[in-house]
């Protein structure tokens, strides 16, 4: 009888045991948060060698980049002021540039500072021109440019979507304001040919601008913006337009005008005959003509080289400074005596 009582309370546990047992978590390193992990800590040696290594890598790259940049020969000539007669008010300049009856031909001379090997790229550079303006940058219709059948698709092109009741091809503010200054180069009396083929991206010619899409109704409105287009040339061959339509992200930008495929000798004097048509006077923008060779890094740009050298130097400096501090004030890592409350034994 005694035994019966002694073995009491185990009964209820047995019933539920198998059910609860399935609750038992399955062991895996993931579920136990015990995945093998490496735990790097910022030891002085590690940090100092990282900074040294960066310095070691950066300085040669900096030198190479700077050399590339200095090897590029670049001629930049601002002409917007020179090509307006006299030193007049802005209003006069604007009136001058907008007057269709004036012949705006103007001649400037460039001196070649160093030998330039082909290809020599000809760019025009605009300053203070906001191709990235919200109103401007969206004013185009890519479908229309690509597809002949979508000539009527001028959505987004407002206010240059239609004139005289029919759609404009290519529509939109970007195309409408196409840059229309032209340059003719000559050395002495000899004409310098500028190759205007291949200045745009091939992918644009092949896939973005249709070879069966022709300009229509372009610059026919009351307001004339920039250049007109030859109605018999398909858009895919209008390379100036293609280049212009690759909008620039910054208010100062250069765009390809053409390539000169012959050597220019040091001290050659180039005469450029400019048709100064494009109005940058109303917003005080500058126009520049740029002739430049190129390197593996692109055009003349000292920024990368100088920055690399500076950063490399700073990294060396940091590495040395950390080493110095480490040697002068060595700290044993993980030493409890560095706990902040141990460093402040005062107050007793």
């Amino acid at each position: 009888m005694n035994n019966s009582a002694a073995g009491t309370s185990s009964g209820s546990g047995d019933v539920s045991a198998p059910r609860r047992n399935s609750n038992r978590p399955k062991y895996s390193r993931f579920t136990q948060q015990e995945l093998p992990a490496c735990k790097p800590i910022l030891t002085p040696r590690w940090v100092i060698s990282v900074f040294t290594l960066i310095g070691v890598i950066f300085i040669p790259i900096g030198i190479a980049a700077l050399r590339a940049s200095t090897n590029v020969v670049e001629i930049v000539k601002r002409y917007d002021a020179d090509c307006i007669p006299g030193n007049n008010t802005k209003a006069y300049k604007v009136a001058y540039i907008q007057d269709k009856n004036i012949d705006k031909t103007c001649n400037i001379t460039l001196r070649v500072p160093k030998d330039m090997d082909p290809p020599i790229y000809v760019y025009y550079q605009l300053d203070n021109f906001y191709q990235n303006h919200r109103r401007y940058v969206k004013s185009r219709n890519d479908a229309q440019l690509k597809d002949r059948g979508k000539a009527n698709d001028t959505s987004g092109c407002d206010p240059e979507d239609a004139s005289n009741g029919s759609p404009i091809v290519p529509c939109g503010l970007i195309a409408w304001s196409l840059f229309n200054d032209t340059y003719n180069f000559s050395i002495g009396n000899q004409n310098l040919t500028v190759n205007k083929r291949g200045i745009s991206w091939k992918s644009d010619r092949d896939h973005k601008f249709g070879n069966d899409v022709f300009p229509r109704n372009f610059q026919n409105g009351t307001l004339i913006g920039g250049a007109s287009l030859d109605e018999n040339t398909p858009l895919s061959q209008q390379e100036d337009l293609i280049v212009w339509m690759r909008t620039a992200a910054l208010p100062t930008f250069r765009k390809s005008y053409g390539k000169i495929e012959q050597n220019l000798r040091e001290n050659d004097t180039i005469t450029v005959t400019i048709k100064n048509n494009y109005n940058t006077y109303s917003f005080s923008g500058k126009k520049k003509l740029v002739l430049s060779t190129s390197s593996w890094l692109g055009g003349k740009n000292d920024f990368i080289g100088i920055t690399y050298l500076t950063i490399g130097g700073l990294c060396f400096f940091l590495a040395i400074a950390f080493t110095g501090v480490y040697l002068v004030k060595p700290r044993k890592l993980g030493d409890p005596s560095y706990l902040s409350w141990n460093r402040n034994p005062s107050g007793r």
Partner: protein
């Protein structure tokens, strides 16, 4: 009072109430979309994002394709809607299963099989053994001749023991045939959710003439979801059906708990929102001015002279849209995801698996893991939480004779055994009360052994002890009870049971000895509930001494008493009792009153002492958590002495002279107030000494205090690290939780029994121990664990990691959003402040949703310190408690970093890709690549440990970025066509990215290294210690160092005139937040009693110094 009349077996009235179709579904197919959307849009963040998305539909102002917001928004909505739908579908399936279950119901006098959903109120339902009860029934017949049946109520209240249910008196003896034809009416209250009460009456109609109203209680019911056990069949009348059952009514949606981290994130989101508004207004103004002064000169933009009326709004709105990405749309999704992983880690944790009871830990609330790391107060129950709740009878005192004092086990005390053999009357009476005065059910098992099913562990211990002393409870069938005493069978008839309630703190039974026909009242209960009832002239001194002595040893005591009743006295009383039992209004109170009329002039006969052993590892757990700066309050229903003994045993308080207990007691308001103020004064004076002070208060005084002197008590609560509240009721426990919460402390309540449920639900975090008192607490809790000692791991490991991880994840999410947003803002200065987006829509969307969201998710595997180190140095929890890793100042750091990185990316890109390279798509892709590279390295540098997943996610993500963009670059119609191919071929692209990365990360690395080495935080030092080879030695060393922290902190505290420049935002927000944030009141209690503000300032500095 609203009542319902249930006509038994009457088909005409059955349509008054709903049928038994259960529906737990929130939605139907038709209302799912609108209802779900409505629910989702009630959240501010979603409204904000919807507004942004709608604004984007206005093409005049949208800087990007609306898809870049609509896409993520729809994904987010779809994800949570799918989750809801899936949950709801599962609920539908389980409802369907329950609804279509076949049950036997009497229709037109014949038993028929019908679907459970077709049961109507008034139907008679037949159940067989192991059937689930389909709705709430009033029992009217069973197979057992004594008119009882057994049910398992685990699904309802979590208690696993079998409960006895009895037939109403008027139904006893009815045959199954009669039951088919029975008619009658049950008068019962309208449906409610109280599963412990069913105050109603039944009257049967002819031919079952019984003019008496037969009272019904919860003991006469079979509630939905219980199981019929050990009973061949039972039948009952359906009274509540469908969603109106007790279970259905008690099903509620618990209030979602908001963690401190969530609150902080909301606050930071608000701050960013304000910042965004400011940016929008400033840029909007600038944009409009620029437009009027400059843009009108830009003929190629063709600005019309007269714009529409809303023209002034256009630019600000554009900027609003551009800046809308400042608030990361992916944050909510990422947080939900990682939080559910934290919860899974808790569920999966092997080290918290209790092998003894085979219970796995469970996180029922997946959203509040971070709060575990910020706990400041733990309110703990005693019985079953700190102790095993495995009772064993140890000692007793019978009429002044102490048994078991030498051996510590009365059952082995020869004197007692002899007394039993010699039939000493007092001893026999004592054993009889032990055996009879309880609610234990003896069940004969297959093998013939008798098993006791007890709801209370104390009763179980007493009955088992009596059995060992040769008085064995053999059977309890309805009203008759059999005892085997030394081989002799004794019969008793149970006349009435005066049940135990926590107000009465005693129970009694009235029995009739079948031999001599005497009627006896047998009572047992707490000393203060029994001793005052002793007859005039009885010497109760020995019993008081015995109770004191036992309590000193930490034993639980019960006093036993009895009285013989005269026949007529009993008859009178019995009538009153019956009436009280059949009242519908205030039944409990009336019963109390009637019981008191009988329970007086008892002869107190002895005291039993039952030991409840401490659980394994309780003292260590409390010590560790105490070191982690967590304060403990013990709330127990037990006696003061017992509570103090247990508290001493488990390191809760220290004994003199290191510790001191301050008692708050008194019977009247004045006494209590005086005592309270004295304690407060002592507390303030002695708080400068390093002494463990604790106050002790009992339920009576607490009642007065909570009503009258709340503010004084609050002040005391703030000063005191430790408190013992004894003799408290469940509602007082909940009130204490509320009180601490109102001081802005993070509270954790842990308990195991039904009486802890309210406290658990009220606390910021409720932890339930799935213990012997059932699963009630565990079900109501946010976390359930098997043993108290797992709390240490739950807080220090899971809570701490969760906090750290969320802190990083949330701030990082803001960082990456701000980074891209700042670049957009910088770009606007180069685009005529016109609101042009530098990045295209696809890139923006992918940046937020993929590129930057995926790598950071590996933070769920990040561990700054190993679990072992944290366990050895629990003080490190200070960082989490004080919110050191996520607060406005750390956030400012991230803000600054994003600003710096945006500058780096933008300036380098703009300079490297100037002039002839400044094509829009190209430049934007360079900037985007820069951001992607930087964020990969930021994640790398902020992670503490790298698993294979980290490498996969961080570097794999980078590869994905290139893969995806190369793919897009191959699509001719895409804006990005050929861009990525071009860039990848350019040396200048790679050189630029390299430059961005080094310039961006160099200072971060240098600063981090400098801080790590020369301004190390305690976390850094432990990391270093952990990873250097001499780990074991130095950690032990460190441990001792950390131990001395309190002393040093004390000395630092006195120097609080030097203002620290470190901003501790949590602290300065409000006086209450101050206390909250500082939490670890190691400081509190060492702090000299100055004015609160000074003290807070001082504390602030200490924390800063400690954590700098």
């Amino acid at each position: 009072m609203m009542k319902r009349f249930v006509y038994i077996n009457d088909d005409s009235s059955q349509n008054l109430y709903c049928d038994n179709r259960i529906s737990n579904r929130k939605y139907t197919i038709l209302n799912f979309l609108p209802k779900n959307l409505w629910e989702q849009f009630r959240r501010f963040m979603n409204q904000y994002f919807l507004l942004i998305a709608c604004l984007q539909l206005w093409s005049l102002i949208t800087p990007v394709n609306p898809a870049s917001t609509w896409g993520p928004l729809i994904i987010i909505f779809a994800v949570s809607a799918t989750k809801e739908a899936w949950d709801d579908y599962n609920r539908y399936l389980s409802d369907k299963q329950a609804n279509e279950k076949e049950v036997w119901v009497v229709k037109d006098g014949i038993r028929k099989h019908i679907k459970a959903q077709d049961i109507h109120v008034g139907n008679i339902v037949w159940l067989r053994e192991n059937d689930e009860v389909p709705c709430d029934l009033v029992l009217i017949g069973t197979s057992e001749p004594q008119g009882i049946c057994y049910v398992e109520t685990a699904a309802l209240d979590g208690e696993t023991d079998l409960k006895t249910r009895v037939l109403p008196s008027s139904c006893i003896g009815l045959t199954p045939e009669q039951l088919h034809k029975i008619k009658g009416v049950i008068e019962c209250p309208n449906p409610d959710k109280d599963i412990r009460r069913f105050d109603s009456n039944m009257r049967l109609f002819p031919p079952f003439i019984d003019n008496d109203l037969c009272p019904l209680t919860i003991d006469n019911t079979l509630l939905q979801s219980c199981y019929l056990r050990n009973t061949e069949w039972a039948c009952g009348v359906a009274v509540y059906t469908g969603n109106e059952t007790k279970l259905g009514m008690s099903r509620g949606v618990p209030e979602p708990k908001l963690t401190a981290v969530d609150a902080m994130i909301d606050k930071l989101t608000g701050a960013i929102f304000l910042f965004q508004i400011v940016v929008v207004i400033v840029l909007g103004f600038a944009g409009n001015i620029w437009k009027d002064t400059e843009a009108r000169k830009q003929w190629y933009a063709q600005y019309p002279e007269d714009g529409p009326w809303y023209e002034l709004l256009v630019i600000p709105l554009r900027f609003e849209l551009l800046c809308s990405i400042m608030i990361p749309i992916s944050l909510k999704v990422s947080l939900d995801l990682v939080k559910s992983i934290y919860a899974k880690f808790i569920d999966w944790d092997e080290e918290m698996y209790d092998h003894e009871t085979m219970t796995a830990p469970h996180a029922a609330n997946t959203a509040i893991s971070e709060d575990l790391g910020q706990v400041e107060y733990i309110l703990t129950d005693k019985t079953g939480t700190l102790t095993e709740n495995k009772m064993s009878f140890r000692r007793c005192c019978i009429n002044g004779t102490f048994y078991g004092n030498e051996s510590g086990d009365a059952l082995k005390d020869v004197e007692l055994l002899n007394a039993v053999i010699n039939n000493v009357p007092d001893v026999i009476r004592f054993l009889t009360i032990m055996t009879i005065c309880n609610t234990v059910v003896p069940v004969r098992s297959m093998s013939g052994n008798i098993l006791y099913k007890a709801q209370s562990q104390d009763e179980d211990a007493l009955v088992n002890a009596a059995a060992r002393l040769h008085m064995v409870l053999i059977s309890k069938n309805g009203n008759s009870l059999e005892i085997n005493f030394n081989g002799k069978l004794i019969h008793y008839e149970i006349l009435d049971t005066l049940e135990f309630t926590s107000e009465r703190k005693r129970m009694s039974v009235v029995v009739k000895d079948s031999e001599d026909g005497k009627i006896l009242l047998l009572s047992k209960g707490a000393d203060e509930a029994i001793l005052p009832l002793s007859y005039a002239g009885q010497q109760i001194r020995p019993f008081v001494d015995a109770v004191d002595q036992y309590a000193q040893l930490g034993l639980r005591t019960l006093c036993l008493g009895w009285r013989e009743l005269k026949d007529d006295e009993y008859k009178d009383w019995s009538q009153a009792f019956k009436e009280a039992r059949s009242t519908l209004v205030n039944r409990e109170w009336k019963l109390d009153e009637v019981c008191q009329r009988l329970e007086h002039d008892l002869e107190v006969i002895g005291v039993t002492a039952v030991e409840d052993q401490l659980q394994d590892g309780v003292p260590e757990t409390i010590e560790t958590l105490r070191k982690a700066g967590i304060n403990f309050w013990m709330l127990t229903g037990d006696k003061q002495k017992t509570a103090i003994q247990i508290a001493l045993l488990c390191n809760f308080i220290s004994s003199e002279p290191r510790g001191q207990l301050l008692f708050i007691n008194g019977k009247t308001e004045d006494e209590v107030l005086r005592s309270l103020e004295r304690v407060l004064l002592t507390m303030k004076i002695t708080s400068s000494e390093p002494k463990d002070l604790a106050f002790v208060v009992d339920g009576w005084a607490l009642e007065i205090i909570l009503k009258q002197y709340r503010s004084v008590f609050t002040e005391l609560a703030i000063l005191s690290r430790t408190a013992i509240c004894c003799r408290v009721t469940p509602s007082q426990k909940a009130q204490l939780v509320e009180l601490l919460k109102s001081c802005d402390y993070r509270t954790l309540a842990i308990g195991d029994g039904g009486n802890d449920v309210r406290m658990i639900q009220n606390a910021d975090i409720g932890v339930g121990i799935s213990g012997r008192e059932g699963l009630q607490a565990a079900r109501a809790a946010d976390y359930s664990i098997g043993k108290f000692r797992f709390l240490k791991r739950l807080i220090l490991v899971h809570g701490r990691y969760s906090y750290n991880r969320t802190a990083f994840l949330s701030q990082y999410s803001f960082y990456k959003s701000l980074l891209i947003c700042f670049i957009q803002i910088f770009f606007s200065f180069f685009s005529g402040v016109s609101g042009t987006s530098l990045f295209n829509s696809i890139s923006l969307m992918a940046y937020n949703v993929f590129y930057t969201s995926v790598p950071v998710l590996t933070v769920v595997l990040d561990k700054d310190l190993t679990e072992k180190t944290v366990m050895q140095n629990p003080q490190i929890l200070f960082y989490c408690q004080a919110g050191r890793l996520l607060n406005p100042s750390t956030f400012a750091g991230w803000f600054g970093r994003s600003l710096y990185h945006a500058l780096v990316v933008f300036l380098i890109t703009v300079h490297a890709y100037a002039d002839e390279k400044s094509e829009m798509e190209q430049l934007s892709m360079v900037a985007l690549s820069g951001c992607i590279w930087l964020q990969a390295f930021v994640v790398t540098i902020e992670m503490n440990s790298f698993t294979i997943f980290h490498h996969l996610a961080i570097w794999g993500n980078l590869l994905c970025f290139y893969g995806l963009n190369l793919m897009i670059s191959a699509i001719p119609s895409a804006g990005l066509y050929t861009i990525m191919f071009r860039l990848c071929r350019q040396p200048s692209y790679w050189i630029t990215l390299f430059l961005i990365t080094v310039v961006g990360m160099g200072p971060v690395l240098a600063l981090k290294y400098f801080r790590y080495t020369y301004r190390s935080s305690a976390i850094n030092i432990l990391q270093q210690a952990e990873r250097s080879r001499v780990a074991t030695f130095s950690i032990r060393d460190l441990d001792s160092q950390l131990k001395s922290i309190e002393k040093d902190v004390g000395s630092l505290a006195s120097r609080n005139k030097f203002k620290s420049s470190v901003y501790e935002p949590l602290i300065t927000d409000s006086p209450t937040a101050t206390r909250r944030a500082v939490g670890p009141s190691a400081f509190d209690f060492l702090q000299p009693a100055q004015s609160r503000d000074d003290q807070n300032a001082g504390l602030l500095e200490i924390v800063c110094m400690l954590t700098e």
